[in-house]
């Protein structure tokens, strides 16, 4: 598979999912289980991505400059900081720790 194939397949699948919602009969709206699963799927995937993006290097689990950076991000989110501030602050923390040689 080339990167282009992957990009196009993923993009088309996502567009297809958006379209499906407009084709499904309205009475499905009353079914709570599919909606609940869709909602929790989002939570589980994002949480798993946070974990992997913070701790994984390939197949190894590593604690490095990303961990303090994500903790700072969590603190800012608690203070209701906007998305961009949170992301930029995390990048700065990791970049500074690496620049000063305090963390890998």
């Amino acid at each position: 598979m080339t990167m282009w194939t992957a990009v196009l397949v993923a993009a088309i699948v996502c567009v297809g999912l958006k379209t499906v919602g407009y084709l499904i009969p309205a009475r499905w709206v009353e079914a709570p289980t599919p909606l609940r699963i869709a909602d929790l799927l989002t939570v589980a995937l994002l949480a798993a991505l946070v974990a992997v993006q913070t701790l994984a290097v390939g197949q190894a689990v590593v604690v490095d400059a990303r961990v303090p950076a994500v903790l700072v991000a969590a603190g800012l989110l608690l203070l209701r900081a906007p998305f961009l501030v949170v992301v930029v602050a995390a990048a700065l923390v990791a970049a500074m720790l690496r620049l000063w040689g305090w963390a890998a």
Binding site: A10, V15, W28, D39, L40, Q53, F83, V86
Partner: protein, 257 residues
Amino acid sequence: MTKVTLDPHFDDAHSAGEAKRAVRQGLGVALATSAYGISFGALAVAAGLDIWQTCVLSLVMFTGGSQFAFVGIVAAGGLAAAPSAIASAALLGVRNVAYGIRMSPVIGAGFWRRAAAAQFTIDESTAVSLAQRTARARTLGFWVTGIGIYVGWNLSTLAGALLGDVLGDPRAYGLDAAAAAAFLALLWPRLRARQPIVVGVAAAVVATVLTPVLMPGLPVIVAAVVAIVVGWTNWLGRSTATDAVEPDDVAEREGLP
């Protein structure tokens, strides 16, 4: 249009004020959301996509969570992880099905109108629309937010991709930590009840424990099983159907894609 008829005050003066409010909210959310297309563009290029591939993701896929997931997994596992990247993007896109179901009566009839609406159906456009109280304001809120973000998100993606291209080693700029923080910020507004918090913690643990034994990308997919099991059994959930559905103002307050 059953939801709309709940509003008892449907006179013209009131309706014009509501419409103006919807447009203002939509533009505000569009501006805030578009700004961090820059981080997506930079991260995508750092993950190994070229500028055109990055732009195609924003132009065609156009759903932020899925886009970040796709490039995050490709960054970790390269092309070998592409099937996992596609699956993660698709699973994160499943919530757009639920949004489409709820937006369908607001959008109304007409093939082209519905086809266009499908592409603009994302967290923010759905949230802004459903937060309005009149039929006109709901329709306006959806289109202003959806089209506004589409234009802004694609422009900022291009800017971020060009920026990422000249930066060089992404780790020196903390871009790997930025990606983790982006996922956390997308997750944050959804952690308002016990059930999603438990699912989130469990999924994070499952993904971490499986990281050494599975190829990159797969731990995230397996962690999704937690959501299916808990969602199916409604373990720790509340009994009424409406509670399980995400609050209408999630994206509006937090500005997530």
